[in-house]
């Protein structure tokens, strides 16, 4: 029976290896300088607008969301009554289980009529998806900070707010960073909400959140069935970039958490 369990574990891992192998093999022939510099309509074509679009969308969303998320987690963990904290935890956990397409649909119904089909709407959609991740992960990390640390600080005559910021958050800093990075990595790969809010474009867009933007997931999606080999190749190249980014961020995060366990 031990064998069957081992086989299941191997079966769980095979897809990862197959996927990584495929993406790398198919993407490498198309990794040239033009890919990073040119836009889809340039000759030769590239995916510069998607690369920088993804970074702009996700970065804007994380900048908007992480302060709110971290502060909300601080409130729930440091100030709220245990009952409120426990209920909000349940609500946020449940929200984490809501499919991103539903959040995308919400943005389509509420945000797009205001901001139009634009990068701004996409930022809102991605931000909403990131928010519960930031709150919950930060809350978990803050809870790991032992109460003896808070007591030590209070007993030194340090006010509560300084205790929270300079002692509790400092102790949990790498964990909070983890929360933010995880949310960023999750936001980078979101596709369905972008289809409903940003849609994509062939043009390069620098920081104009009022018009559409392109993103790596949108490029992968729309190029995925292309007959033209260069176009399909660029889908693979975009997938490689996205995958490398997502995996790298996750590996960084995990390495950090292993190294800096709160005492």
């Amino acid at each position: 029976m031990r064998l069957s369990a081992l086989i299941a574990t191997i079966a769980a891992i095979i897809p990862l290896i197959a996927l990584i192998y495929f993406v790398i093999v198919r993407a490498i022939p198309w990794l040239d300088a033009e890919l990073f510099v040119n836009n889809p309509l340039d000759k030769p074509s590239g995916i510069s607008n998607a690369i920088f679009g993804s970074l702009q969308l996700t970065t804007a969303a994380i900048l908007a969301v992480s302060p709110i998320g971290v502060l909300a987690a601080i409130y729930l963990n440091e100030y709220a009554s245990p009952r409120v904290a426990s209920w909000s935890e349940l609500v946020i956990d449940v929200m984490l289980g809501v499919p991103s397409i539903v959040v995308g649909m919400f943005a389509f119904m509420v945000v797009v009529p205001q901001l139009g089909v634009s990068a701004g709407s996409g930022v809102v959609a991605i931000g909403i998806l990131m928010l519960p991740i930031v709150v919950r992960t930060t809350q978990e990390v803050l809870r790991l900070v032992p109460s003896s640390v808070r007591e030590a600080s209070l007993a030194l005559g340090v006010p509560v707010w300084k205790t929270v910021i300079f002692v509790v958050c400092r102790t949990a800093f790498s964990g909070i960073l983890t929360a933010v990075i995880l949310a960023y990595s999750r936001g980078l790969g979101e596709t369905a909400p972008l289809l409903l809010t940003v849609r994509g474009t062939f043009a390069q867009n620098w920081l104009d959140f009022g018009t559409t933007m392109n993103a790596l997931p949108l490029t992968i999606y729309s190029y995925s069935g292309a007959a033209d080999s260069r176009t399909l190749g660029q889908a693979w190249a975009a997938a490689l970039l996205l995958m490398v980014l997502a995996l790298a961020l996750n590996i960084v995060v995990r390495a950090r958490t292993v190294n800096s366990r709160v005492a």
């Binding site: 990862l16 397409i101 995996l247």
Partner: protein, 307 residues
């Protein structure tokens, strides 16, 4: 008196200010979640009142069928593999190996679903068609039309392949959740049973898995919720047909894929139907997620009562 312990006189204490700021952030978060809930709940009203609920299900049987079918296939794939892998990681694997394997499995979860979709369209889907799908069709297809396939001319996309792909994608979730639950089974329980002369595997079958049953069921529910809502990868391999397919090996659609592909250009009537479908998806996944959390609390109580 050599000291001063009186309050400073300023009304605006940094303590209060900071607390108020964090409270505002918490309220903002709560408000956003509440708005989502209210908007979606209200959004379903037009479609659900226009016709009776039964009619609504009838006219949207295609995507509803596709959603359920892909999710169930996904659970059938990910459930056994995920739970067994979790058992291996907790009970059998040497510690270092367990750390490495867990790490690798968790990395799968970090790969964006659109990348899975690209891989499936260009490789996995074709392999599945020529192996698992072909085998099932040639073995059972003669008796069960629902599992039949024209082997000379198989469809380019199929509900089955979409479900299988989602299964692969949710394996890490099943592993991670089951692992936590199996690990939470107290050592004292296992030791008691091993002390009676049971083997490792007997202990797992008769002590560990039964104790963890509620929790693992909850984990599968959460995974089911994730599978129901998986959108982009499914869109890329399911084919997009709006009808209930005659066979699992033919193209179909799911609620999520319908929303992703048709919502932006939909006319008002279709739009309200799609939104109503989305709201169903929202409440179903909400319910599953809630069930999982409650199951997890239940398991925590059981294990706590033993400790």
């Amino acid at each position: 008196m050599a000291f001063n312990i009186t309050r400073s006189r300023s009304l605006l204490s940094p303590d209060r200010t900071f607390r108020a700021i964090t409270l505002m952030a918490a309220v903002t978060t709560a408000t956003i979640l509440a708005i989502i809930f209210v908007v979606l709940a209200l959004g379903s009203i037009p479609a659900l009142t226009a016709s009776s609920f039964v009619d609504f299900i009838g006219t949207n049987a295609g995507p509803i069928f596709g959603t359920v079918a892909t999710a169930l296939i996904a659970i059938a794939v990910a459930g056994p593999i995920g739970i067994l892998a979790a058992v291996y990681l907790v009970e059998f694997a040497p510690k270092r190996l367990a750390v490495v394997l867990t790490f690798i499995v968790e990395l799968i979860a970090a790969i964006p679903s659109v990348v899975f979709g690209l891989w499936a369209v260009n490789d996995l889907s074709i392999r599945l068609r020529d192996s698992v799908e072909w085998w099932i069709a040639s073995t059972f297809g003669k008796f069960i039309p629902f599992l039949s396939e024209d082997s000379n001319n198989p469809a380019a996309d199929s509900v089955f392949r979409a479900g299988f792909l989602v299964g692969i994608m949710i394996i890490p979730l099943v592993v991670a959740l089951s692992r936590e639950i199996i690990r939470a089974v107290p050592i004292s329980l296992r030791e008691g049973y091993i002390g009676m002369g049971a083997t490792r595997w007997e202990t797992i079958r008769h002590v560990v898995l039964p104790t963890a049953r509620i929790g693992i069921t909850g984990a599968l529910m959460l995974a089911l919720g994730r599978a129901l809502g998986e959108t982009i990868a499914v869109t890329m391999v399911i084919g997009g047909s709006n009808d209930v397919p005659g066979s699992l090996f033919q193209p179909g659609s799911t609620i999520a894929t319908r929303i992703a592909t048709t919502l932006p250009e939909a006319n008002p009537d279709v739009k309200s139907v799609l939104i109503a479908l989305g709201v169903i998806l929202f409440f179903v996944s909400l319910g599953l997620s809630l069930a999982m959390r409650l199951a997890a609390r239940q398991t925590a109580k059981i294990t706590a009562s033993v400790k």
